[in-house]
């Protein structure tokens, strides 16, 4: 059984029609998010972190869409993406994909709590999201 089969059987993702145009748009969005995050990192670290996370999220969702699947939201859409990212990390040999969930959790701690970010954390988030985007875009 493949990872996609397993995630589908667990109700985390569902089959969709091939849609390379949307996947490409998400990869393009991700590229712009990363460019913007780099520009505002010093002025607005939390905003830059959110953009880096969004870039990673759209990249993983784009890779999933290229595999003709999308996440289902009833269990929290992040579950399907996180587990798909972990599986993809092995498949494409990109360990940054294993840090996708930590990006998400850090972003949530800032969005819904008092967490702030240091310069090195923001840089790491942008670098990680960049590596995730590159690995996911290579699947096109």
């Amino acid at each position: 059984m493949t990872t996609l089969d397993e995630l589908r059987n667990r109700g985390l993702i569902e089959v969709v029609e091939p849609d390379q145009a949307t996947a490409t748009k998400w990869f393009d969005d991700a590229g712009r998010h990363l460019e913007a995050a780099t520009k505002i990192a010093e002025l607005d670290p939390s905003g830059a972190y959110v953009l880096a996370y969004d870039a990673a999220r759209k990249s993983v969702a784009g890779a999933l869409l290229m595999s003709e699947h999308r996440v289902l939201s009833r269990h929290g859409s992040h579950q399907g993406l996180v587990q798909y990212a972990d599986a993809l990390a092995t498949q494409v040999d990109e360990p940054a994909l294993n840090r996708f969930d930590r990006l998400r959790r850090n972003r949530n701690r800032s969005e819904y709590g008092s967490q702030t970010f240091g310069k090195a954390e923001v840089k790491e988030a942008i670098d990680t999201a960049g590596a995730i985007r590159a690995a996911c875009a290579s699947l096109i």
């Binding site: 294993n98 840090r99 959790r105 701690r109 008092s114 702030t116 240091g118 090195a120 954390e121 790491e124």
Partner: protein, 184 residues
């Protein structure tokens, strides 16, 4: 922090620490005196606990010369479950110390928040603050390795020494004035 507050199932905090040493931290058979020292209990107290554990089939002992060496009995039907419980409650601090010791560039590291607060009976996750100039990704990977073992999220915040010194925001003030468990 008083050990034994995370899972109030044991007869005493001393018993929990002895079990922790035997089931999680010891890398082989250890003497009674070493066990007592590591668990921070008296030799007599350790002796009584070991007798109880041995009669229940949880630990075994052998005598080498004049030394009695004790170790957890991995053939016990409850070995895996008991070790898992102890790892999740006593494991975070020593595992984080070990994991972070392998990362270059860390000047200070400590647990803050609910896990460091003795009054908090059921903290869900573990919050760690690292001060220094390490590779942040390496710190995250070290934390992820520990959270896989202890079954709880380990959240990490990294600050350069200058950032930490100067920081005076809501988050930083709460961390600086709150309880902490040193990891260095």
């Amino acid at each position: 922090m008083k050990v034994g507050t995370r899972l109030p199932l044991y007869r005493s905090p001393e018993q929990e620490r002895l079990l922790g040493e035997l089931f999680v931290f010891a890398e082989g058979p250890i003497s009674l005196s070493e066990l007592a020292r590591r668990a921070g209990t008296s030799l007599g107290g350790a002796h009584k606990e070991v007798e109880r554990l041995e009669s229940a089939g949880l630990v075994g002992s052998t005598t080498v010369g004049r030394n009695r060496l004790i170790e957890a009995d991995s053939s016990s039907p409850v070995y895996t479950e008991l070790r898992g419980l102890l790892l999740k409650t006593l494991g975070p601090e020593p595992l984080l110390r070990t994991a972070l010791a392998d990362v270059n560039g860390i000047e200070d590291a400590f647990i803050y928040g609910s896990w460091a607060d003795p009054a908090e009976k059921a903290p869900a996750d573990i919050d760690v603050l690292v001060v220094g100039d390490p590779d942040v990704g390496e710190v995250y990977d070290a934390a992820s390795a520990v959270e896989a073992k202890v079954g709880r999220p380990v959240n990490v915040t990294v600050r350069s020494p200058a950032e930490w010194e100067e920081a005076d925001g809501l988050f930083e003030r709460a961390v600086k004035t709150g309880p902490r468990i040193d990891l260095r």
